[in-house]
Amino acid sequence: MADGGSSPVEIVDRIRDLGWKVVGGNTDEMLFRPVALDEFAKHAPRRQPVFDVVREVAAWSRGTLGAERLAWMARPPRVQVHGAMALVHASSESLWRAPMPGPGDDELEAVYGLLRQAVVVYGHIHRHMRGASAA
């Protein structure tokens, strides 16, 4: 929700004021639970310089948001179901790993079939994907 931009406080407060239903994501978790980034980063040692930069940006966001907003950011669930749709950040099992662009039906079914919804929407990978379907 609020890491890496100029206005983390304004974003979180606006979402709260609107009363939007949200799901938690990995960059939210690394703000209210910093060790989450370390746990993920240890699996990609060659990318440590990037993670060091991400860690510094997250520390600034964390300090700007303050304890009360960080506590609120820990509350959203991993899954929101609305009608026939389930919304997740990466998957219902992980905030940090999701199918990359161009996944096959088998991978989508394996990751999102567990949700048992006609429509599943996820984010995490930054890239749009429309209308991919699985059996």
Binding site: G4, G5, S6, S7, P49, V50, V53, E56, V57, A59, W60, S61, G83, A84, M85, L108, E109, Y112, G113, Q117, A118, V119, V120, V121, Y122, G123, H124, I125, H126, R127, H128, M129, R130, G131, A132, S133, A134, A135
Partner: protein, 68 residues
């Protein structure tokens, strides 16, 4: 099952610097892009003091992943 990805609102990594969201109309997904003042956001990044603001600003401006 239909699976769609929202993409990122501000860092779509597709070379398009416009903001983005996913609209479900009768459960049919459609990506919508919205022009916003990218220069203003980059100026805000530079003035509000986060570390590595230039790096984030390059990604916002280019709409692509950039090395720190």
């Amino acid at each position: 099952m239909i699976v769609a990805n929202t993409g990122s609102v501000g860092l779509s990594y597709d070379g398009d610097q416009r903001a983005a969201y996913l609209l479900l109309d009768d459960w049919a997904p459609a990506v919508r892009r919205v022009v916003y003042d990218v220069d203003r956001e980059i100026m805000a990044l530079r003035s509000c003091g986060p570390p590595h603001a230039e790096w984030v600003g390059r990604m916002v401006e280019s709409g692509c992943v950039q090395a720190p």
